[in-house]
Symmetry: C2
DNA sequence: AGTAGTCTACCGACCGCCCGGTAGGTTGGC
DNA sequence: GCCAACCTACCGGGCGGTCGGTAGACTACT
């Protein structure tokens, strides 16, 4: 790399992307800390220290703590849209579509769960308008899954399962991964994704021969 | 209400169970508020106001905010022990035992999710020793479920499912109920419990004919 | 080449507020 | 008179957020 290249790169980097990089690093750090300690237990000072700034310095980049939270949640929702919903929309067959949804969502979580976990755990930290925005997008996601289950029901592959309950239950199963999956654990990310996907599909597909093991106390 | 009624009520309340009732009411209120707003976002004043006391008055009954949290979590864990684990231990057949676990846990959540939800969401608000205590009891619960799945595997009813992953996934499905179930919703508590229990069993029991719908992108 | 001005990227010090928690009463029933 | 069951008033401290700077890179002009 010549000095000219170097200078040119630097000019581009500082002028165009420098600030963006810093801002992105702030969001990443904030997401990690919010995820670990929770939004309310995290101080602006914690985040500033994590990126090597003072609190006042940090405020050069952000508007406030709540905006930071909303930005992180918006990013997570965008991830979900782009990497789960959009690809799944292009899958016609309902069962394959459901597999795509579960596998892609689960994979996102095993790769980096911070933002996606904040998305579901810190809703009450948002301003009412922001919260309404995020909740609406989340509802769209659940509806998308429920619609897929309804399509499977129309195919006869799902019997006797309420699509909404099914959708919520699958989402719960997927989101919970972030609580127990460890990168350095016994199973790697792909194995976890595969296992959870298999369970999810199995949970909704009806077995013609399903019977309870008999549990009068519970099923009376 | 006359002065006599008032005095009589007060006498009964204070003489026999008054202090216990008051304390129980404080825990219940605290659990409800922690559940709604989160532990860190809830102030001692919020709780005091909810039970009609000042902050100082509240401190006559409690030792501190963290003790309050630990007490609530301990109560939730006791509930789980007494109403889920102990009854399930008495069920010999593994599949029936699993049904008992899921149905009873789900039912607890549809009845009153406050304490049980705090139990899983506010761990980081505890002192390290208290947290270790709760985490240990939670791990015992997951192990109990995993052992039941292992027993089902030995019976040949579960094939190719890691018992630990299975246990976590079921727990996630159950716990998530508290996020979407509404008492005044379309389905009542019993219907939700039944639906989730059916899904849970279906998720772990192997179907001899299981095949993916074909999703090369995901399963490659 | 020197220099005066400008702008980005910060920092130290500070603000008002509310937090968890406490000290020292006060009151009403026994 | 005493004690349980509170209250008013207060404390130190940390919070989110702001203000007035300023070092240093860069630009414009002479």
């Amino acid at each position: 790399m010549t000095a000219l290249d170097n200078a040119a790169l630097r000019a581009v980097a500082t002028a165009a992307n420098g600030e963006q990089d810093r801002r992105a690093e702030i969001y990443r750090s904030a997401a990690r800390i919010f995820h670990r300690k929770g939004y309310h237990a995290t101080s602006i000072n914690d985040i500033a220290a994590a990126v090597g700034l003072t609190k006042a310095g940090l405020y050069y980049y952000i508007k406030g703590k709540q905006d930071l939270l909303f930005a992180i949640m918006g990013f997570a929702m965008d991830q979900l849209d782009e990497q789960v919903i959009e690809p799944a929309r292009r899958v016609q067959d309902p069962q394959a579509r459901l597999e795509t949804i579960v596998a892609r969502h689960a994979r996102l979580i095993t790769q980096d769960s911070s933002a996606l976990t904040i998305l579901v755990n810190e809703l009450e930290g948002l301003l009412p308008d922001d919260r309404a925005d995020i909740i609406s997008r989340q509802r769209d996601y659940v509806d998308f899954i429920a619609d897929t289950l309804a399509a499977l029901r129309d195919e006869g592959k799902v019997v006797g399962l309420d699509p909404t309950v099914g959708a919520f239950s699958l989402v719960g199963m997927i989101l919970w991964i972030s609580r127990w999956y460890r990168t350095d654990g016994r199973l790697d990310g792909d194995e976890v994704v595969a296992a959870v996907t298999r369970m999810a599909i199995s949970a909704v597909l009806s077995r013609g021969d399903y019977t309870s093991a008999g549990n009068p106390e519970e099923t009376g």
